[in-house]
Amino acid sequence: MARPSPRRRADGGRARRPLRVVSSWLTLLGLLLVCAGARAHDLPVNTMVNAFVRVHDRQADLVARVPMDLLRGIPFPPADGRYDLAQPGPYEELARTLLADAFVLAEDNVLLKPLRSEGRIVAVSDRSFDRFDHALAAVQASTGSAASIPYDTGYLDVHFVYPVKSTGSRFEIQSQVAVDVGVLAPLTVRFVRGDDEGRAMIIPPGADPVDLDPAWYRAAGGFVVLGIEHILTGTDHLLFLLCLVVPVRRLRAVVPLITAFTVAHSVTLIASALGFAPRGPWFPPLVEAAIAASIVYTALENVVMPSMGRRELITCLFGLVHGFGFSNALGDSLQLAGQHLIVSLLSFNAGIEIGQLGVLGIMLPLFALLRRWMSSRRLVVVLSTAGGLLGAVWLVERWQVLWQVDVACSGAGCLGHAAPWLVASVALLALVPMLSAYRKHRTSRISQRTQ
């Protein structure tokens, strides 16, 4: 006579407690999503260097706007507390000479040297850098009314012209402007192609050269590697994976768990990268705290109630959270995707899966080996307790970080961004008891049939 598996029997009686925990946690998440708001970033924008690069007709044009704050080393002549623009000549030329080394432009790995350059000092109120053609026209114009620019304010607009071999070459750019101040003086550059102004890339000074328009396979390759790196260095994701699979003895039972995790984190990773996630400064620390909570919960479940009944579902829920974590890690790197946003996203996801499978390829045989030395239950309890404790420490640390973030709503925007996720969370919350009831119903029917 067939009997319901112990796994299913265990499901029925003790299902409510963990459900409550998950429900409470998701409710808290929902509340935070509603109450949290965006906070203005603290980056001093006056030290950001803006640039456009256009390649056409065997020449590359680099038009850049450098804050005068970053050129304090050049003694531009003053006149009554303002720039004396009747005679900036040698100093403005000196600035261009120095900046020619700071903007490193390369064609097929060969450094380009500017053929000629021009520049002018402009007031902070100048708005000509909204488009490439406006910026180029402005920098080519005479200095004009610049005599009224207060000293140590404003920008130096420069235009460098480089000879190139072919418009089809691979172009890379690197910024060496104000390397000493690091991320406070990033280069924001757009690669202009025809009428398309391109996507802005923010490059920290001193960072490796960045491909201005990568071929799809280069972008894909880079993002696969990034995905692998992220999962292999993401201790929290690995610990969650460990807690997830440690009670599972058969490979056949691992597959649905990993599939659920993969599908779920892919959904939020892609959605988030496409701009559907909340954007407040509270969101990344919230996700990080939730990831730590996912470890604690899974470890606790392993120790207290070693049931696999709803594990696919719980894995799916936590997978959504981890997907946000992956997207946070992807963060600024996505700007380097050029025109290949979707390819790069999928490649990053593929990299995560490759890394994940590699880790499982080591983890599962290792567990099998350890089970020869200790009982399966002891292995689960020992590893889950260790993992859960580490997760708890992270949870406390990350909660403190989250607590320090200003979560006050600053407008309807935060609610607008949070609303879809709140609805999704509520829908999932509703789904948990439904699926649980369905599973219970099905178990009892099987039980009745077998009796």
Binding site: L70, L71, R72, G73, I74, P75, F76, P77, P78, P90, E93, L94, T97, L98, A100, D101, A102, K113, P114, L115, R116, Q176, V177, A178, V179, D180, G206
Partner: protein, 173 residues
Amino acid sequence: MPFLFRLKVAAVFAAAVSLPGAAHAGVADFIRTQTAAQGRDLVDAARAMPAERYRYSPGPEQMTFGELVLHVADGNYLFCSPIGNSTAPAVEKLPGDGPKDALVKRLQDSFDFCARALATIDDSKMAEMLVIGNVRTPRSMAILTLSGTWNTHLTMARDYLSKNGQAVAATSR
């Protein structure tokens, strides 16, 4: 006439070499001039502050005047050594609250070192990458940073002097 002709030829030649080929014309001379001018101004500022006010700081988070002087001297050794491709001399460790005379001497010595180190640089290797502290930067950018820090620190020193009722010399800018 022959003299004027030669002058014209020389002018045309000078203009030609100052075009694209000599991309860094004037950078080496610029930093040498700055070293002399800013060094003089900063050492003058250090001398102008009374010894008993060397521990003055505008706020708890800011350097004292003595620390500022030492900071400039340390920065000079840090930057001028790689820029000028010369080994910085081993100097004794000096506290920021050390005696005024020792701090002023340290500042003067550091500018003297910079003057020696930068005396031989030319404009041909300005794009060469240097390692300063833990930062990699072209020589030209290191020069810009060094000159910029002198400007910033001179402004600070003059602000400290002014807040202590000392006469502030005219800016070299």
